[in-house]
């Protein structure tokens, strides 16, 4: 494994700086890093930080009142009905994450593996599988809502047509099926993305590895498990972390397909929805409390950050540089 930092013993960039190696390097890094950091701080970090500070105040709707310390956090975690809402939403997000990992990413992995073998029509399949990702989420959400309509929807009509009327049900209206249905629509929509990322990872593995293994008489499973899987670790890291963060920040799809209050009866409520209706109110039901909403965002952030750090450590340890 080559040392990634190759600058300690390399000769200075010729003809550019006469400032000497070290200063030149610092200048170069500064040129690379300062603009992005500046931008990021001004347009993201500062506004978010201000919003997070709002969580420490008591709010009357949209006007800030007195300092409240951790009162908002206590309310979310220990007072009813917020405590129920918080735990309910949280567990739903956990279900979302686990299911997406298995259904969305698992299938994507299989598809990517298969496509890595360049079967007939690979290029066609690549383009097609990624198509749903390019569609507007609003379009996907509304259309699937129509497909899943118990009376008019294509899904139930198809089930009836093949004689499976028993399965024909109000998918989005039952507490037992609503969340799963949303997750599956999400998987439909996003499947192409991990597929392509895994595929890109597979394609960077030099073919010599596979040829060597096959010469050694290794079977398919062995190749997949001991060569492909470890060597696509960077792609896996990207997908796992993005899926994790995406699962816990999930908002757009449930908002379009279910509604801000996670119907039916909060069966599809997730932290993203809960946050939005707390911070901005819900037109036909609840009021907004910006301090409480910000506090929820803080809690979400801290949780996601902590777990992401753990994930990163675990997953990065697996990454191997090819040389």
């Amino acid at each position: 494994m080559a040392d990634r930092s190759s600058n300690k013993s390399s000769p200075p960039a010729a003809g550019t700086f006469r400032l000497g190696r070290r200063a030149g390097r610092i200048l170069w890094l500064a040129c690379l890093l300062v603009p992005p950091i500046l931008f990021f701080v001004v347009f993201l970090v500062v506004p978010i930080a201000s919003a997070l500070i709002y969580s420490l105040f008591e709010w009357q709707g949209i006007a800030r009142a007195g300092f409240a310390g951790l009162a908002n956090f206590r309310q979310l975690l220990f007072e009813q009905p917020w405590q129920d809402w918080t735990t309910n939403a949280f567990w739903h997000n956990v279900i979302v994450f686990i299911t997406l990992m298995i259904v969305q990413n698992g299938v994507a992995l299989v598809l990517a593996y298969v496509l890595g073998g360049e079967p007939r029509g690979t290029r066609f399949y690549q383009v097609v599988f990624f198509l749903p990702v390019t569609l507007a989420l609003v379009l996907v959400g509304f259309q699937w809502k129509l497909f899943l309509n118990p009376l008019f929807g294509v899904v139930n009509k198809l089930l009836d047509a093949v004689g499976l009327e028993a399965l024909s049900q109000p998918w989005l209206g039952q507490t037992s099926t609503a969340l799963m249905t949303l997750i599956l629509v999400n998987a439909w929509r996003w499947l192409g993305f991990p597929t392509i990322v895994f595929l890109a990872g597979i394609r960077t593995i030099p073919r010599e590895y596979f040829e060597a293994a096959r010469l050694d008489g290794a079977n398919e499973w062995h190749v997949a498990r001991h060569i492909t899987w470890p060597l696509i670790a960077p792609a896996v890291t990207i997908i796992v972390i993005l899926t994790f963060i995406g699962s816990f920040n999930w908002f757009d799809l449930p908002f379009v397909m279910a509604g801000l209050d996670g119907p039916p009866g909060k069966a599809t409520d997730v932290l993203g929805l809960y946050f939005y209706r707390t911070a901005f109110g819900e037109v036909s039901a609840g009021l907004q409390d910006f301090g409480l909403g910000s506090a929820l965002a803080v809690l979400m952030f801290l949780f996601i950050l902590a777990v992401s750090i753990v994930w990163t450590r675990v997953l990065r340890g697996r990454e191997v540089e090819l040389s």
Binding site: Q60, G61, I62, A63, E79, Q80, P81, K145, L148, N149, P150, L151, F152, Q169, P170, W171, L172, G173, Q174, T175, G259, L260, D261, P263, P264, G265, K266, F280, G281, E282, V283, S284, A285, G286, L287, Q288, D289, F290, L292
Partner: protein
């Protein structure tokens, strides 16, 4: 001499043009009524013709995100001059921090408005009115007159008659009631339409005063009655949402639709060939008056930070006049609370009659001032109640407990 004259003329020209430019005040009027843009622009065009020097731009935001745009705009001091606002709790969210101009002294027309309407835009803490009410809404039943005629039905008056009517419709292969339970706020509307006839006209005042709460027999009994409607709702009603229900009724696949007075415009748009009429919810027993739930939809307010307060107030005063009210009613098919307005549309005239027996839409009017709002609490539980997962008594208990966490009158 010529030079001086020329200079004077130019100066005069500049002054006149400058004066004209200054005289042209531009106001922005924010609203969530995307559907009504054309009609409002028409009304504004007439107003501008009568008030030269004022230009008003009608700016709409998608209804579900209006609150966000309003919050952000008001917080930064960059919102419209005239703002459409909601009523009751949602109104207080915006009015309490002082973003709106009190209007009771500037708009004398408000004195003639009905109390119930004005109270929706009154801040409880200082008792002043901050918006001119624009429409009241009433909950009622829409029915397909063609279907009723074909089946030889007359509009039912009591609960038992209503069930019998629904059965006849069902036997004919048509869905009796279009509504489902998939859209939470429509569940509250559904309940609010039928329930008053079972809990009676005094319930609202008693529950707001804390003399009783939602575990009251009358209320729980009303909820239990709703369950009798299940066989007559759309099949798989758990998955039937607001848009589907609207379309079922508009396409003639369902004979009745439970909704608010705002649906009149919707159904006319969805299917101009649809022949429909309205009726209030059925009475509990023969001889009793038929109560309807009613509430104030919202009002027009003036931004306290507006740079053109005078012109904005003048426009809002116009919005309180009978002249505007008539245009509003005629163009937008809504019930305006402005006194003296004539309801030329037979449906609107009927609603005006029903309103003689109106009782406030209980959760919106009385219990949406603090979180968790009564609306949130009841909306969460209704799908489960219709699915049979929880019983009405439990719903009443949980709603009461939720409200009791902040509502003093319930805390004894």
């Amino acid at each position: 001499m010529k030079g001086t004259l020329r200079t004077l003329l130019i100066a005069l020209l500049v002054a006149v043009i400058g004066g004209l430019a200054l005289a042209q005040t531009k106001l922005t009027f924010w609203s969530w009524r995307v559907e009504d843009a054309d009609e409002y622009n028409q009304i504004i065009a007439d107003y501008q013709a009568a008030h030269p020097g004022v230009e008003i731009e009608f700016v709409t935001f998608q209804a579900s995100d209006y609150a966000t745009a309003l919050s952000a705009g008001l917080s930064a001091g960059e919102a419209g001059d005239i703002l459409q606002v909601r009523a009751y709790g949602a109104f207080e969210t915006v009015a309490e921090p002082g973003f709106l101009l009190p209007l009771d002294d500037k708009v004398p027309e408000l004195q003639d408005f009905p109390e119930l309407a004005v109270n929706g835009e009154r801040l409880r803490s200082d008792g002043r009115v901050y918006a001119v009410p624009f429409a009241s809404q009433t909950l009622l039943i829409y029915y397909n007159t063609d279907t009723f005629d074909q089946l030889g039905l007359t509009p039912p008056e009591t609960w038992d008659e209503f069930l019998a009517t629904a059965q006849t419709i069902k036997d004919a292969g048509i869905i009796p009631i279009a509504n489902g339970t998939a859209t939470a706020w429509m569940d509250e509307v559904f309940t609010g339409m039928f329930a008053p006839n079972f809990y009676g006209p005094e319930f609202f005042d008693e529950v707001v005063a804390g003399e009783t709460d939602f575990t009251d027999e009358r209320f729980v009994g009303a909820l239990a009655k709703l369950l009798e409607l299940r066989p007559y709702m759309a099949p798989d009603f758990a998955g039937v949402d607001y848009a589907t229900a609207q379309n079922l009724f508009a396409n003639g696949l369902a004979a009745m639709f439970v909704g608010g007075s705002w649906e009149i415009a919707n159904f006319r748009d969805l299917n101009p060939d649809l022949n429909f009429d309205i009726m209030p919810g059925p009475a509990a027993a023969a001889g009793q008056p038929r109560l309807v739930s009613s509430f104030l939809d919202g009002g027009y307010a003036v931004n306290a930070a507006s740079k053109h307060q005078q012109e904005a107030v003048e426009f809002v005063r116009f919005l309180a006049t009978k002249q505007f009210g008539q245009q509003f009613v005629d163009l937008l098919s809504n019930v305006s609370p402005i006194p003296g307005v004539e309801f030329n549309d037979p449906l609107l005239a009927k609603i005006n009659d029903f309103n003689q027996n109106a009782t406030p839409y209980v959760f919106l009017v009385g219990f949406r001032y603090q979180s968790p709002t009564g609306s949130t609490l009841i909306q969460e539980r209704l799908p489960g109640m219709f699915a049979g997962d929880i019983d009405p008594a439990q719903v009443g208990r949980e709603v009461t407990d939720g409200i009791a966490t902040y509502y003093q009158p319930f805390q004894d």
